[in-house]
């Protein structure tokens, strides 16, 4: 038999026919499609019992109550806790994304030491010994005060531990990052001479006059304010927004008053002037014959007459008077300040002017008004031990007079050799979030030894020499005090929702073990076995309630009982006016950083949050600047054009976004972009950090950073 092509034909046909009458073909066809329905590389989340556990979100100062949905103990979703005094079930996009922060690819997974610019993962013992040795050497050189420490704020036991460590090491160089709460506190101190925590009873007010506050864009306790905003429709609360740009708050407001940038204080003072002239202020609250009030009244009426102010602010006389009338007519008006989210400080003059408005309305400590709260931290700290090195170091002068990291960094920049020899950084990312971030980065580079306690490889941590990585908040137990300007006094306890994923430690435990490694009086000042023990001991006055209920809500809040004086003479000081850096001839435009609720500052936003960011804020790796079409026309620019944006501080290539809602001549650029974490490409390497384009302006009164913008120019690339 000859094998030819017909044989092959037969073979093929036979095979085909044979297979066709077996189940193989049909079953395989079905199975192959089922295979595509169950591709092994598409994850199948395991099922199990659903449970909910409550904790507190610490991503911002709002401290919302969150409920973590778990499947067989595995957290899968974050929701707002219903009935929680701050957020009553609501929750912001960052809080919902918290699990992405837990699994963030830029998490520092174990202690690390940097040698010759390369990171090496090491054991905790080694990292601690390394840090202790460096700090010990500085102390031994009788230079203990050259150790500085930066934390986000000074509330709670963990900050307390850092402050304590700094002290017992022998340094008074402990700094916290600027926030509007800090600016408010300074203002109140200057005006009334009292230490108070500010809270606005917005829920019960009937008119909110906001001077540039991103009231519904992350200001204060964001979710709390969203709910206040939602109440406006049902409870007739009016909102007036003073701001040169139609922000989301301005859009939601009943009235938008687009004052020229940086003239908010002028407008507030002009309104004061009108109220005083017309006698429309609360006579009970104000002692009209007080000489300091008289001086203030004279200044407000003359220097900030509607006619003059109309020129400075661009708001016409009638509008200014109408604003004043609206404020006077309201039963429970309240004026608020703190730009954007209030993540930075601001001009004391602006805060004081707005505070003056509230004082004139007589709403201090009144329902629906401006509350000066007296918050008792309810902490008991044992005494500290200071050895000779510590005593000597601590007796030295602080590097800078004001408690601002900006000033500290400026000092480092200005000195040939950094006066700071070791820097401890916890819960702060100055290399990203301070103005003129590039200069800050250079300053940090000059510091010989930096210890970061961050959970993430953020901009500051990248420059560290040792990282003692912290658990992120879902992995730890810690007391948190509400710091946002809400009329609530809550101390809450975060609880571990998941056992730590990596070889990280509770920052409190890191401080304790670092102190232990230092031995001697330093170790002796931290007598607790663990942070948990410390927490229980220090919070002893409220521990029972805190540990059982998860939070201590003080109700009613205690308000500052007596306000002895009310002195606005600081407003008479002309030098307090904060102008934008740069000369108008070279830089004809004004650049304002603006806050965007969908982006964050210090810690980069989550992949989910970045996903929600408009393509008119970020496209690919390009940041956009908002510009009025009229200004763009003059510059012959159109939507999407690439331009070089130059300010006295720096320059960047950005794209143009035409927006009718921004004042001609003003540029706006979103905060929160330009993070550099290479490990997290979902958020890192996108856009430009606007802080690198704006320099700090030291407030003449408080010394805090008061910059609200900078002069700028743009040219086509």
């Amino acid at each position: 038999m000859k094998v030819d092509r017909r044989s092959f034909l037969g073979l093929g046909l036979g095979a085909a026919a044979g297979v066709a009458v077996t189940p193989a073909t049909w079953k395989l066809m079905d199975d192959s499609s089922i295979w595509t329905q169950n591709w092994p590389w598409t994850p199948v989340p395991p099922d199990g019992e659903v449970t909910f556990e409550d904790t507190v979100c610490t991503l911002c100062s709002g401290n919302c109550g969150i409920s973590v949905r778990k499947i067989n103990g595995r957290p899968v979703k974050i929701e707002g806790t219903t009935g929680h005094p701050v957020n009553d079930g609501g929750v912001c996009l960052h809080g919902i994304s918290a699990l992405q922060y837990l699994y963030d690819p830029s998490r520092v997974k174990s202690p690390m030491i940097k040698t010759d610019d390369t990171w090496k993962e090491v054991s905790w013992e080694k990292a601690l010994a390394h840090a202790a040795e460096a700090l010990g050497n500085i102390r031994k050189a009788d230079n203990a005060n050259a150790i500085a420490c930066i934390t986000d704020n000074d509330k709670g036991t963990v900050s307390g531990l850092f402050k304590r460590l700094t002290t017992v090491l022998g340094s008074n160089n402990y700094y916290t990052m600027d926030t509007m709460e800090k600016a408010w506190a300074t203002t109140i101190d200057a005006v009334n001479g009292v230490k108070a925590h500010v809270g606005f009873d917005l829920k019960n007010s009937d008119l909110i006059l906001s001077f540039g506050s991103g009231f519904i864009e992350g200001w204060g306790a964001p979710v709390y304010n969203f709910q206040v905003n939602a109440r406006r429709k049902t409870h007739g609360i009016k909102l007036i927004q003073v701001e040169p740009r139609l922000s989301n708050t301005a859009a939601a407001a009943d009235k938008w008053v687009p004052a020229k940038p940086g003239t908010e204080a002028d407008l507030a003072l002009a309104i004061c002037g009108v109220l005083i002239t017309k006698g429309l202020y609360n006579k009970k609250a104000i002692q009209a014959d007080d000489p300091s009030f008289k001086a203030f009244a004279k200044m407000a009426q003359e220097k900030y007459s509607p006619a003059r102010t109309a020129r400075t602010t661009g708001i016409d006389v009638a509008s200014i008077q109408n604003l004043a009338m609206a404020f006077a007519d309201a039963e429970k008006p309240v004026a608020i300040a703190g730009r954007g989210k209030g993540d930075s400080a601001g001009s004391t003059r602006e805060f004081a002017a707005v505070y003056a408005l509230n004082c004139l309305a007589g709403n201090i400590n009144a329902p629906g008004g401006f509350w000066l709260m007296d918050k008792d931290p309810a902490e008991v700290w044992p005494s500290i031990e200071m050895d000779a090195m510590a005593t000597q170091g601590f007796a030295r002068a602080k590097f800078v007079e004001t408690d601002t990291v900006d000033s500290l960094m400026a000092k480092v920049t200005a000195s040939a050799k950094s006066p700071v020899e070791a820097l401890l950084v916890y819960n702060a990312n100055p290399c990203y979030s301070l103005k003129n971030a590039k200069a800050v980065t250079e300053a940090v580079k000059k510091i010989p030894f930096v210890i970061s306690f961050s959970s993430y490889m953020d901009e500051t941590t990248q420059l560290a020499d040792v990282v003692l990585p912290s658990h992120m908040f879902l992995e730890r137990r810690e007391d948190v005090s509400l710091t946002g300007p809400v009329p609530l006094d809550i101390t809450a306890l975060t609880r571990p929702m998941v056992s730590p994923l990596f070889d990280t430690r509770h920052p409190g435990d890191s401080v304790l073990s670092l102190a232990a490694a230092m031995e001697g009086s330093v170790a002796a000042s931290f007598p607790w076995e663990s942070y948990d023990a410390c927490l229980e001991a220090v919070k002893a006055p409220v521990w029972k309630a805190l540990s059982e209920k998860g939070s201590v809500v003080k109700e009613p809040v205690s308000l500052v009982k007596k306000i002895e004086r009310m002195d606005f003479s600081l407003l008479l000081n002309d030098t307090a006016v904060v102008a934008a850096e740069g000369d108008e001839a070279t830089y004809p435009l004004v650049l304002m950083p603006v806050d965007n609720i969908r982006l964050t500052g210090e810690i980069a936003a989550s992949p989910f949050a970045v996903k929600t960011v408009s393509d008119k804020v970020l496209k690919g790796t390009d940041s956009f600047i908002e510009i009025n079409p009229e200004t763009a026309d003059q510059l012959r620019l159109s939507q999407g054009d690439e331009v070089t944006l130059t300010t006295p501080v720096g320059s960047a290539i950005v794209k143009v976004n035409l927006f009718d809602g921004i004042m001609p001549g003003v540029l706006a650029m979103a905060h929160g972009l330009g993070h550099t974490m290479a490990e997290n490409p979902y958020v890192g390497g996108k856009g430009v950090n606007v802080n690198a384009l704006v320099g700090p302006v030291m407030d003449a009164i408080s010394g805090l950073d008061a910059a609200w913008g900078i002069r700028a120019k743009i040219s086509r690339v």
Binding site: M29, S32, S33, W35, T36, Q37
Partner: protein
């Protein structure tokens, strides 16, 4: 080398020349196959399609090749059912073109779907309300019919024909061809129509939406009619191209003119219907949904009113006038112009009904979506063209495609 396979008495170029030509086109084909492979293995992220442009370049190509492949069913209908016998001289070409176009269309569909291994769901889990289901069923059935129509031609290959079984099979199939042609025409009417329906039923897309008869929007009938009208244009165009490349006269002028005339009248009737449809759409349909016609042609960088003009006047009225006028039709240059304009016209119509539909914003705050295909899409779209050229070349070389070829070459 391969002369034993070449039809008797036919004059073909030497094998090396032929092979070289095929190889050149083959390279393009391979490029397309590579792109196709990428789309299958890596997924449709290889394209520049997006959630706004879910249907794009190659779906246009799909619709276009089906439209211009319409010559097969329509010529078949004319010859076998209506008995216009002269058309037997061009029917083979029409069938081969149809086969190429339809196999390409099916291939494109197989690449276009996100889950090719589930492609059979369209048959197994069919949703009878969907135009696409109708398309899939009619398209695959008609493709089977075309294959059956193509087989006798293959069997006529000199070597195959020698096998008595195949010879008889071929003969018997020929006698039954009228039945197949009729079936094909019926199926074709439906799937051409349902392809038109694909856009016309989109009542969420005012640019595409058309009222209609029963479940079929007007586009259903317009697509069928236009495929019948313009399909022969493409058949003629390919005939002219083959003649040009081989530098031989293959089909007698009377056949060409006859088909051109029929096509002309079909285009004329079609374009009248299309104009009525367009006017109704402009005057009634779109305004009832809140759109004025210029909303569809302004505010974007590409789609201007020119496209409507080009489709209706340049691609419709002009070829219609040329083809129905004896003087123009019989002027070879005018004829060529008309069939080229016709083919472009129908392709443009399909473009508009696929791509512009996706581009036009519907929500008042939405924006136009324009899109530029990726190279993978372009390559995949060119793939059928290369495949078509190769198959046509093979068919021409080895099969007696043009019954008049011998006669005409002797005449010469």
């Amino acid at each position: 080398m391969d002369s034993a396979l070449i039809p008797k008495g036919a004059n073909r170029c030497p094998f090396p020349v032929f092979a070289t030509g095929i190889a050149v086109v083959g390279v393009v084909l391979l490029w397309g196959v590579y792109a196709m492979g990428l789309c299958w293995i890596k997924g449709l992220n290889q394209t520049n399609m997006n959630d706004y442009y879910g249907f794009a370049l190659w779906i246009w190509a799909d619709l276009a090749v089906i439209a211009i492949g319409g010559g097969a069913f329509f010529t078949g209908l004319l010859k076998y059912v209506l008995g216009i016998d002269e058309l037997k001289n061009i029917i083979n070409l029409a069938v081969v073109i149809g086969f190429i176009c339809y196999s390409s269309a099916l291939l494109i569909l197989a690449i276009d779907i996100g889950q090719p291994l589930r492609g059979w769901f369209i048959f197994w889990h069919a949703n009878v309300h969907s135009m696409l289901t109708e398309v899939a069923f009619c398209l695959s059935l008609y493709f089977s019919v075309l294959t059956i129509e193509f087989i006798p031609l293959i069997l006529e290959n000199r070597q195959v024909d020698k096998v008595p079984f195949f010879h008889n099979l071929s003969h018997n199939m020929h006698t039954a061809m009228a039945v197949f042609a009729a079936t094909g025409a019926f199926l074709s009417c439906f799937h051409q129509g349902s392809l038109g329906g694909v856009a016309g039923v989109l009542y969420g897309r005012p640019f595409a939406f058309r009222e209609g008869l029963l479940i079929w929007p007007w586009t259903f009938f317009l697509f069928t009619w236009s495929a019948a009208a313009y399909g022969p244009c493409f058949t003629l165009l390919v005939a002219k191209m083959v003649e040009g490349i081989t530098r031989k006269k293959l089909i007698k002028d009377n056949v060409i003119h006859l088909l051109a005339k029929i096509s002309g009248w079909m285009i004329t009737t079609y374009i009248v219907a299309k104009i009525i449809d367009t006017i109704y759409w402009i005057a009634v349909t779109a305004p009832s949904l809140g759109f004025s016609v210029m909303d569809f042609y302004t505010d974007n960088a590409f789609y201007g009113i020119w496209i409507l003009f080009a489709e209706i006047v340049l691609g419709g009225i002009v070829p219609a006038v040329i083809l129905i006028t004896k003087k123009y039709r019989e002027n070879s240059k005018m004829l060529l112009l008309a069939i080229i304009l016709g083919v472009l016209g129908v392709c443009l119509n399909r473009w508009v009904m696929v791509l512009q539909v996706m581009a036009v914003p519907v929500m008042s705050f939405d924006t136009w979506a324009l899109y530029i295909p990726s190279w993978q899409e372009v390559a995949t779209t060119i793939l059928p063209v290369a495949y078509g050229i190769i198959l046509l070349a093979l068919a021409y070389r080895y099969l007696p495609m043009f019954p008049q070829e011998k006669e005409l070459s002797t005449e010469k």
